[in-house]
């Protein structure tokens, strides 16, 4: 808006300059090289069917999503987004978990104090720990519900049989991840829940004792178990589950996208 003496207002000038600067930045060679054609952040993006295809096809998203999906699959009421939420919770758990790793030493004399210090000495420590813990419980829940949703839709029927098998392995890995994390605070709850849990493994016929021994790094929970569960929890199991998730998502697409409609 021009003011009385014909000069433009300060706000307007700032706006103008900002737009100009943004255009310069977005048109620069660097930004141009980062964004692939069709990116909605690119200068001059227009919403056209063609660009809608490019947004997926020309970007890293193409590893996860096809350009088009069945209309009924997009409806929230079909998948309830449970698979997607399981995956998202996994990401959240990874992020919060990395944060926690900075403040945690997996040794019998430090673990408990470190977890306690999260609530007293670390900025947002308590919040992040809570998110990690409740997120883990939630993920067990969403994965289980996702499995139930898949069952009720009969979505494991040909050609998706194998993806169901991969799914069962994912469920097992999710449970193991949660269980191995349970020991880490090294409090009474952790110690005895894991003792009860691993006692069940001891009932496996023939190799029961061996399985239990391998899990616990001994005949009962000790400081060595803490280190073992820690490595399983932060490295081994996440590594394996990511591989299985990659196969799982790949097969969802290759088996013809989401199942249905019913």
């Amino acid at each position: 808006m021009a003011n009385g003496d014909g000069r433009t207002g300060l706000l307007e000038r700032v706006q103008e300059k900002t737009t100009e600067l943004m255009d310069r930045v977005r048109g620069s060679q660097f930004v141009e090289s980062v964004l692939r054609p069709g990116s909605p952040f690119k200068k001059g993006y227009t919403d056209s069917p063609r660009n809608r295809s490019y947004v997926i096809m020309n970007n890293v998203l193409y590893h996860l999503h096809p350009v088009k999906v069945k209309r009924h699959g997009v409806k929230l009421s079909y998948t309830l987004c449970l698979g997607g939420l399981s995956f998202f919770l996994f990401i959240l758990l990874t992020i919060t978990g990395i944060f926690l790793m900075f403040y945690f030493a997996p040794t019998a004399d430090r673990a408990y104090a470190d977890v306690q210090a999260l609530s007293t000495d670390v900025a947002f420590g308590s919040l992040v720990r809570n998110m990690h813990r409740w997120g883990a419980h939630l993920m067990v829940l969403t994965v289980f519900l996702h499995m139930s949703r898949v069952f009720y839709h009969g979505a494991y029927k040909p050609p998706r049989e194998f993806n169901w098998v991969v799914g069962v392995i994912l469920l097992l890995l999710t449970l193991l991840l949660s269980f191995s994390g349970y020991l880490l605070p090294w409090d009474q709850l952790a110690l005895w829940a894991v003792t009860v849990g691993t006692n069940m493994a001891g009932f496996v016929p023939v190799f029961g004792t061996q399985v239990k021994f391998a899990l616990l790094a001994g005949v009962e929970v000790t400081a060595a178990t803490l280190l073992r569960f820690y490595v399983l929890h932060v490295l081994f199991l996440p590594f394996i589950i990511v591989i299985f998730m990659a196969v799982h998502f790949w097969r969802v697409r290759k088996d013809g996208g989401i199942s249905g409609p019913l």
Partner: protein, 323 residues
């Protein structure tokens, strides 16, 4: 000149003979250079459908041809000055004409067999595009003594798609992933983050006394997702409840579901039995878990949460029936 193994030469001659309808022996002789070619040829001219780019590596060209049917429209490519009406502007509903239908295998996809040869094999005149394709050799003459193991690929046999793969694509009602699916996902992600944040602000995760090997809490409970099993353990022999149920029925049984359930229908009305079984499983595991969480007290004996309190430390700070 590199010797071509006899059986390779023979295989390629057989393919060519079949394509041209000539006797194998004659073609083989031609290939070996013992006889002049029977037909007039278009020397080194690429058949329609392939665009050999001079100077590009022949193996790259093989790839280019193989992927040709799924070639994506590349906006970077030089475009005509005036916009052509035939430019792909897929409507939101219709499948784009150019390849964005990337999920369905392109019908024209084919297997390409490259046979290694020194001399360019003449293209079968007439049926180039469909049956056999000659990729133009590198314009630079290959060095006389090519190093061991370095060979150029020349002859490309394109097999008709229908012969080797089933094309199952059916027209389906589809929408663009962006924005329709991505938007839903984004909202779900925000809602979940918000929910988890609020939960974590309200509820403090439990941290009891430091681990003490000499002090067994009473009762000792497994994490909640194993409490159903622990509950079973209190009814059955450990061999059954600790092993048979979780590993045999739980894991192996579940993995076998798709192979045991031979009913092809996904309609709920056709799968009453399966749905009933699964619902029993759900109800059963929920009951067992709730029993284990709330109704088990000292010594894992049955107790009423409203009378004896809750013995479940995960929820220690937020379920209070008794004061």
């Amino acid at each position: 000149m590199v010797e071509i193994p006899e059986e390779l030469l023979r295989r390629s001659a057989e393919a060519k003979a079949k394509a041209l309808g000539l006797p194998v022996e004659q073609v083989l002789a031609e290939m070996k250079g013992e006889k002049p070619p029977a037909e007039a040829e278009r020397p080194a001219e690429a058949p329609p459908g392939t665009v050999p780019v001079p100077g590009r590596d022949p193996s790259e060209q093989v790839e280019a041809i193989m992927s040709a049917p799924e070639e994506e429209p590349q906006p970077e490519a030089p475009q005509p000055a005036t916009p052509t009406p035939s430019a792909p502007t897929p409507s939101q509903e219709a499948e784009p004409q150019t390849a964005p239908a990337a999920e369905t295998e392109p019908a024209g996809a084919a297997v390409a067999t490259a046979v290694e040869e020194e001399e360019p094999t003449p293209p079968p005149a007439g049926n180039g595009a469909r049956k056999a394709t000659l990729v133009e050799p590198r314009p630079v003459a290959p060095p006389k003594g090519a190093p061991e193991g370095v060979r150029t690929q020349r002859l490309l046999t394109v097999v008709k798609a229908r012969a080797i793969q089933q094309v199952k694509a059916e027209p389906a009602d589809k929408v663009n992933t962006w924005p329709h699916l991505m938007l839903n996902e984004f909202v779900a992600l925000l809602v979940m983050t918000g929910f988890l944040l609020i939960l974590s602000v309200i509820l403090q995760a439990p941290l009891l006394e430091p681990a003490n090997f000499n002090l067994t809490p009473n009762p000792s409970k497994a994490p909640w997702y194993f409490l159903g099993l622990q509950e079973l353990l209190s009814y059955f022999d450990p061999q059954i409840a600790g092993v048979t149920v979780p590993t045999v029925i739980g894991l192996i049984g579940f993995m076998m579901i798709p192979y045991v359930d031979r009913n092809p229908s996904t309609k709920p009305s056709d799968r009453k039995f399966a749905i009933m079984l699964y619902t029993f499983f759900l109800a059963g595991s929920a009951t067992l878990t709730i029993l284990g969480v709330l109704f088990r007290g000292q010594g894992f004996n049955f107790s009423y949460p409203w009378r004896d309190g809750v013995f479940f430390d995960d929820l220690k700070d937020w379920i209070h029936f008794t004061e």
